[in-house]
């Protein structure tokens, strides 16, 4: 049987088509490939780190001395630059002394993955060196509390102001010029002032997070509220809505998913201010832990603590996205801002429509 033109094309075109699928411009990938890529995005940096850590000839600029031989400058356990090690051994050999023995290592500030992995667990179980130092979980708890209060206070004032600014030109004109000016003032610049006014403990730290978040928050949320579809507002007006019912019934629900996404992004910013905030006054929280561990040159713990900040941040975002998906069933919020979440997504809204016959949320059909 002769193949038609289209048949031939599809047969010969099989392989390129598969490659195209991986790199389709703005095309969603199948679920398995999404999983694979998400996994790879973590595995690739890890592989790079492992290569540098475990393959000695790639970097390993130091030599750890296992036996100093008769080289006076060395003692067991010291780490010296490779060039120094070789020079000393050359000198030793020239004078018929016993050369030192050792193996190549990376500098202590680049621990191998397994050490950091171990530190993830050991850091929690290791009691603090000084009696008045906090445990790791206490440090983390302290940090989360600081963020929580700073972000909560900022949101309690910032969200209503943002909504007002977005809904009414009056408030926008009144508040935005000043906020625009103030948001350029870096929050750390207020550190000394915060300590002078609020003391040295948690209050100035919360204030720094507040200053770092609040001004952006009002402006960002105003902007989101302003983007509510004006056609929806007009539709509501022709249905008789005005004033507070219009604000509550249309403008707020119309922008709530946007505001929610804004809040998730702003919470990320609050985390970046945390490290600055925690060095203000008495150092505290995870920053204190990181600092102490670096001072003890316990670098695996330092990396583990830094990674924990990322994991906590991502975890909170994950939970918020999950909540958002359930709180706003008419819209898949995290599809816009989703990162890792792309995996746990239900099918996009457009998948719900099959031809002209709509399919429903479970149990939504009333007969």
């Amino acid at each position: 049987m002769r193949l038609g033109v289209t048949d031939r094309m599809s047969v010969s075109g099989n392989k390129p088509a598969a490659t195209r699928d991986w790199l389709g411009l703005k095309k969603e990938l199948p679920r398995r490939r999404r999983y694979l890529l998400t996994l790879s995005s973590f595995l690739l940096p890890l592989a790079l780190w492992s290569l540098v850590s475990y393959v000695p000839w790639l970097w390993h600029p130091l030599v750890r001395v296992t036996s100093p031989g008769e080289v006076e400058a060395f003692s067991t356990g010291v780490e010296v630059p490779r060039a120094d090690f070789e020079r000393e051994n050359r000198d030793a050999l020239a004078q018929h002394f016993e050369p030192a023995q050792g193996f190549r290592v990376n500098p202590p500030y680049l621990p191998p993955p397994h050490a950091v992995g171990r530190a993830f667990f050991s850091a929690f179980r290791t009691p603090p060196r000084l009696p008045d130092e906090p445990w790791l979980y206490q440090s983390l708890g302290h940090s989360i509390r600081t963020i929580f209060w700073g972000f909560l206070l900022s949101s309690l004032i910032g969200v209503p102001l943002g909504v007002l600014g977005g809904a009414y030109r009056f408030f926008a004109r009144l508040q935005e010029p000043f906020l625009e000016f103030f948001r350029y003032l870096p929050a750390p610049a207020f550190a000394a002032l915060c300590v002078a006014v609020l003391g040295i403990y948690d209050a100035p730290k919360i204030a720094i997070i507040f200053i770092g978040t609040f001004f952006q928050q009002v402006l960002v949320i105003s902007n989101t509220v302003r983007r509510v579809d004006p056609a929806l507002v007009e539709a509501a007006q022709t249905l008789g809505a005005r004033g507070w019912p219009l604000l509550r019934g249309v403008i707020i629900p119309g922008s709530i998913t946007g505001i929610y996404t804004d809040m998730r992004i702003l919470l990320g910013w609050a985390w970046t201010y945390l490290i600055v905030a925690e060095v203000v006054g008495t150092m505290s929280g995870i920053t204190y832990f990181i600092n102490q561990q670096a001072r003890y040159r316990n670098f695996p713990n330092v990396y583990a603590a830094i990674a924990m900040i990322g994991i906590i941040g991502l975890g909170i975002d994950f939970v918020l996205a999950w909540i958002g998906n359930r709180a706003f069933p008419w819209q898949r919020t995290s599809r816009r801002a989703g990162r890792l979440l792309a995996l746990s997504q239900p099918a996009p809204a457009s998948h719900y429509r099959v031809g002209a016959v709509p399919m429903f949320r479970r149990g939504a059909v009333r007969r």
């Binding site: 008789g240 719900y352 059909v365």
Partner: protein, 307 residues
């Protein structure tokens, strides 16, 4: 003198004058003229700028719509038909003249003038039922009463079983039916529709037109219908308001000679064609639909002559 051979006479010359009305049509218009005036537009004017930079969008429009009348507004793009209904709905302000609803001057939008927009303006965060209940709740109805009424209106547009669906789960035609139910639930004095079926495919549009006629028949409502589709205007309306552009003005207010009840078979009836021909003349005479010649020369490879 011999009579011309009917086979060679162009069809349009065989059509009656669009002002010729069958007795029942004339009687119907006589009855309509006895009804009270619902909407009265008096010397409505809208312009932007001052002095030399002044652009007149609407130039002293005046007309009246009577109770339960179906009035279509057609005109070339840029003739200000959308501006006109936005002013009537209270979403824009006129620079002169007035809009009277039941003799009362209207200021700003209100529930007495329901509106169905071309774009889908259902509230995406509310279910179908929630959308229909929106206006009812604003009027202070209890949740139970609003709920019951919403179901009645959804029943009217035959979407009762979709009450708990969200708008994104509906097709375009269904969305517009919900929008109609939502507007009607407020029991407006007049229903203003701004090219409501413009975004729908031809089949759905035809279906929606017949739905609308049925709804209009069973509900006491006056309809002001904007469209650019001349057949749609001829099929649906009692009278057709033809507007011209630059500045936006009334060219003619035509009484539709097509008898009711309307059926799609009438699309090739004499009164229908005579009205359509008149509408086309008026709108094309305005220059908006002039055939534009593209400055193309035939490509050498385009061998086949298609004309």
């Amino acid at each position: 003198m011999s009579t011309p051979d009917p086979k060679t006479v162009p069809i349009r010359d065989l059509l009656p004058d669009y002002r010729e009305q069958l007795p029942e049509v004339a009687a119907r218009f006589a009855r309509i003229r006895e009804r009270p005036v619902i909407l009265s537009i008096r010397g409505l004017e809208k312009s932007y700028g001052h002095g030399d930079a002044r652009t007149v969008v609407l130039d002293r429009l005046s007309f009246e719509v009577r109770r339960r009348e179906f009035l279509s507004v057609v005109g070339p793009s840029g003739c200000g038909k959308s501006t006109l209904i936005r002013i009537i709905a209270g979403l824009d302000e006129a620079t002169g003249g007035e809009v009277l609803l039941d003799g009362q001057r209207v200021e700003g939008p209100g529930p007495d003038r329901g509106m169905v927009f071309q774009g889908y303006t259902l509230f995406p965060w509310l279910t179908v039922k929630g959308n229909v209940m929106f206006g009812l709740k604003l009027r202070g109805k209890s949740k139970k009463a609003a709920d019951r009424e919403a179901f009645q209106w959804l029943d009217l547009v035959n979407l009762e079983e979709f009450a708990d669906a969200y708008p994104h789960e509906l097709s375009g035609g269904m969305k517009q039916r919900v929008a109609i139910a939502r507007a009607l639930a407020n029991e407006p004095r007049i229903l203003i529709m701004d090219e409501p079926f413009g975004a729908l495919d031809a089949q759905t549009r035809a279906q929606m037109q017949s739905y609308l006629l049925q709804i209009w028949k069973s509900v006491d409502v006056t309809i002001l219908f904007i469209t650019h589709d001349l057949e749609e205007a001829a099929y649906l309306s009692d009278r057709v308001l033809v507007m011209g552009a630059n500045p936006g003005r009334i060219v003619e207010l035509i009484e539709n000679p097509v008898p009711r009840p309307r059926r799609r078979e009438q699309f090739i009836s004499r009164p229908f064609l005579s009205l359509k021909r008149r509408l086309a003349e008026l709108i094309h005479a305005d220059g908006a639909a002039e055939e534009l010649k593209l400055p193309l020369t035939m490509r050498p490879c385009a061998e086949d002559s298609v004309e």
